[in-house]
């Protein structure tokens, strides 16, 4: 057994870190250093930089433009990106629909869509959730009727179509067979151009005050039949596979680590009378407790990763990553808020009202409430683990 990264992997980490530092434009680096909120054009700018480097889609097969990295290198890259605070690339094309098209798409679909996902020319969003179908995705109501003229006609609504306002395409789960007996049957996976007539996107603010969410409405929207991915009425299994991808969230402690480092910075720089906040043993122990929790989870990730490096499927230990990773994202943000004292009151004021590394803490803290909800709530995760892994009896 060996806990250290190989010399090659250590070298890769150093290179990745150095490249990220050098590749980031000055303004972006400044925001990254204080975990700021990136605008869409900044995210696209970084996408293009990553694309030029060949790292936009580390998980793709090399023939479609993947980075040709092994699992550990991919992990190192994602960890270094998270720690750097670089803008996160939109996952909907690169990590979700892209791999799906690779796996289930036709050659024509691959040729049409993959290159533009890779180079950032076309941005995607995800059309899964509906107002009445959140945790219970199988109850979705968006209909796709065959018009007999080569199209599916979409009618209905999707919600939490994150960043749809900036996207060109959306992938949706739609009901193509309303007579199917099982609710999961009769659902298909379709690709829809957001500029098609009848599509309406309405952004709304998140709890963090950022414009990340949208409702997307479909009013007789025509989708050419060649935009069906996989089997007709066979969308459910593909959707589940994707959710699995989303759930692994293997890089999650990168964000928590970063937030905890920021908390430490806040404690160091916050004066309380004649001392700093960090001199308070109760503060030190709170930081240390989260450090211990993060490092313990990091070891779980390492175990998963070492397995992946050997080509093994993720073991049972990986099932806890989403639950604990999301909890730690929240707990680190909660601690940062606590340490800020009165500054935790600040909400989208001008620069200088609070130190720059505190500027985005409250917004992030609020938004992070979503991490225990999206990609399947933690309650759903527990149901899944109880049933599939622990094999506990069902009611």
């Amino acid at each position: 057994m060996d806990l250290s990264f190989s010399p090659e992997h250590q070298k890769f980490r150093e290179e990745a870190r150095a490249w990220i530092q050098s590749a980031m434009p000055e303004e972006m680096a400044k925001k990254a250093s204080v975990a700021g909120y990136f605008e869409n054009d900044e995210r696209l700018q970084w996408h293009r930089i990553m694309y030029e480097k060949g790292w936009a889609a580390p998980n793709w097969p090399q023939e479609y433009g993947g980075a040709g990295l092994d699992p550990t290198e991919r992990f190192i890259l994602s960890e270094e990106l998270a720690l750097s605070g670089a803008p996160p690339l939109s996952p909907f094309g690169l990590r979700m629909v892209g791999p799906l098209i690779v796996q289930f798409g036709t050659d024509a679909q691959r040729a049409r869509f993959l290159p533009k996902i890779l180079n950032g020319e076309e941005t995607w969003c995800q059309g899964y959730s509906e107002p009445g179908a959140g945790s219970d995705l199988a109850s979705l109501q968006l209909t796709a009727e065959d018009d007999g003229q080569g199209h599916f006609v979409l009618n209905g609504q999707k919600t939490w179509t994150t960043y749809a306002q900036y996207a060109q395409w959306i992938f949706v789960l739609a009901r193509t067979d309303r007579s199917a007996k099982k609710r999961q049957a009769g659902i298909s996976f379709l690709l829809c151009d957001l500029s098609a007539p009848g599509v309406r996107v309405e952004p709304f603010l998140t709890l963090g005050g950022t414009p990340a969410f949208c409702d997307t409405y479909f009013d007789n929207v025509k989708v050419p039949k060649e935009n069906l991915v996989g089997e007709l009425n066979g969308g459910w299994s593909m959707a589940k596979a994707l959710l699995g991808h989303e759930r692994v969230g293997i890089g999650d402690v990168g964000g928590a680590t970063r937030t905890l480092r920021n908390a430490l910075r806040i404690a160091k720089n916050t004066r309380v009378g004649d001392r700093t906040l960090l001199e308070d043993p109760t503060v030190r122990i709170k930081i240390a407790r989260l450090e211990a929790k993060i490092e313990a989870l990091r070891m779980v990730i390492y175990r998963t990763l070492a397995g992946a490096q050997l080509g093994q499927a993720p073991g049972p230990e990986s099932s806890i990553l989403k639950i604990r990773g999301s909890e730690l994202s929240q707990e680190t943000g909660e601690l940062a808020m606590e340490l800020m004292g009165h500054n935790a009151l600040a909400w989208f004021n001008e620069e200088g009202v609070v130190p720059e590394y505190e500027q985005w803490v409250a917004s992030n803290f609020c938004y992070e409430r979503a991490t225990t909800i999206y990609g399947g709530t933690n309650e759903i995760q527990r149901n899944i683990i109880a049933k599939n892994l622990l094999r506990l009896p069902s009611a």
Binding site: D136, S139, L205, R271, E338, N343, L345, A346, A370, E379
Partner: protein, 374 residues
């Protein structure tokens, strides 16, 4: 012991409840938070007319002179829809500071207009290094020919942007951290040596950073002896936060319980899922504790036994933080996706609770204060 409301208290609570329901649903707060001051001048005048702004102000100063529990009962109702008018800053903080320290003349001059709605007060005590400590005052006041001149920077003055008159703590002697040498001053917020930066706060309200560059101040009470009163007023503020918090938590709890009953997933109302039921019960436990603790705070806020007062306030305020964070965070979790949007009201409660748990000392501060007795 007796926790029944008197007929007068029942009527008061009833009046506020009606006002909240009819005139100030949560949608009004939602609308106001994007306005310049975050509240409605019209509603403020209405509150003045109803006499609410004089509730805790002593009769000697033409207030109603009611025990603090009455103010707390009002705030509990106002908390239910996050009524945004600056009641606590103007009445409980600024108002009570002047009531407890000012001469009769000062009380008449400052509290009269406040209660009539023509003047608004705010309390400026926090500074860059004070955190929640009222004795860590670096702002200074020097006696000059025409009164005192104040130098320093006050932070996070609640509703300090819309107040015309500030009550400011400044040091007339000693060094930061000393108990002696802290004085309170009335400062005209609109004078030229006062510079205010209006700030938005997480709960959709406003505060101000206040720069005092040789600003004129009028001494309240005895020079250098204001710390005990300042502590008392901040404890009233904490008790007010507990009261508003109790109402807030009741509202967000009910909203969540109702959502569990109404929301369908997997062919079932989600409130039928045992794991969510138990979570809801745990929220209920914390809610009941916060409601009880708020009574403890309100009934002891004016206790003559100072250590008893501090202990009760600190118990209640740390309970509000512990229980309130749990209840509001779980309220969002149980609402699922819609809970993390700005559209749904549950988030408004979540954010307000975050502000209430910080203001007048957070959990760590109040637990530390409890431990002073060990």
């Amino acid at each position: 012991m007796d926790f029944t409301l008197s007929d007068e208290q029942k009527m008061l609570v009833n009046n506020v409840e009606n006002f909240v329901k009819k005139d100030s649903p949560i949608s009004r707060f939602r609308a106001m938070r994007d306005s310049e001051t975050g509240f409605s001048e019209e509603v403020w005048q209405h509150m003045a007319e109803l006499g609410w702004l004089g509730l805790p102000i002593p009769e000697a100063a033409q207030g109603l002179g009611l025990p603090f529990i009455d103010t707390a009962l009002v705030l509990e109702q106002l908390g239910k829809t996050l009524v945004p008018e600056p009641f606590v800053p103007s009445v409980v903080l600024g108002g009570m500071a002047i009531a407890k320290t000012g001469s009769s003349e000062q009380q008449a001059r400052f509290l009269g207009p406040m209660m009539e709605g023509s003047s608004k007060l705010a309390l400026a005590y926090a500074e860059a290094a004070s955190r929640y400590l009222p004795n860590y005052v670096e702002t200074t006041a020097q006696r000059g020919p025409d009164g005192y001149l104040l130098e320093g920077r006050k932070l996070w003055v609640l509703s300090g942007d819309s107040a015309d008159t500030l009550v400011v703590s400044a040091r007339t002697g000693g060094k930061p951290g000393d108990a002696e040498g802290v004085s309170l001053f009335v400062v005209d917020a609109n004078q030229k040596d006062v510079t205010r930066t209006s700030l938005k706060t997480i709960d959709g309200r406003r505060a101000a950073h206040v720069e005092l560059a040789g600003a004129q101040g009028e001494l309240l009470g005895n020079e250098g002896a204001a710390l005990p009163v300042l502590e008392e007023v901040l404890d009233l503020g904490a008790a007010a936060a507990c009261a508003e918090g109790a109402g807030l938590l009741q509202a967000v709890f009910t909203m969540t319980r109702d959502y569990l009953e109404e929301r369908q997933q997997f062919g079932s109302r989600i409130g039928a899922f045992q794991a969510l039921q138990h979570r809801c019960v745990d929220m209920f436990v914390e809610l009941e504790l916060c409601k009880s603790a708020m009574l403890l705070a309100a009934l002891r806020a004016e206790s003559e036994d100072i250590s008893e007062r501090k202990r009760s306030i600190s118990v209640a305020k740390s309970q509000l933080a512990m229980g309130g964070h749990f209840v509001t965070r779980q309220a969002i979790q149980l609402h699922g996706g819609i809970g993390v949007t700005d559209e749904h009201d549950v988030g408004l409660y979540f954010k307000r609770l975050n502000a209430l748990s910080v203001e007048f000392g957070d959990e760590a501060y109040h637990l530390g204060r409890l431990a002073e007795a060990y």
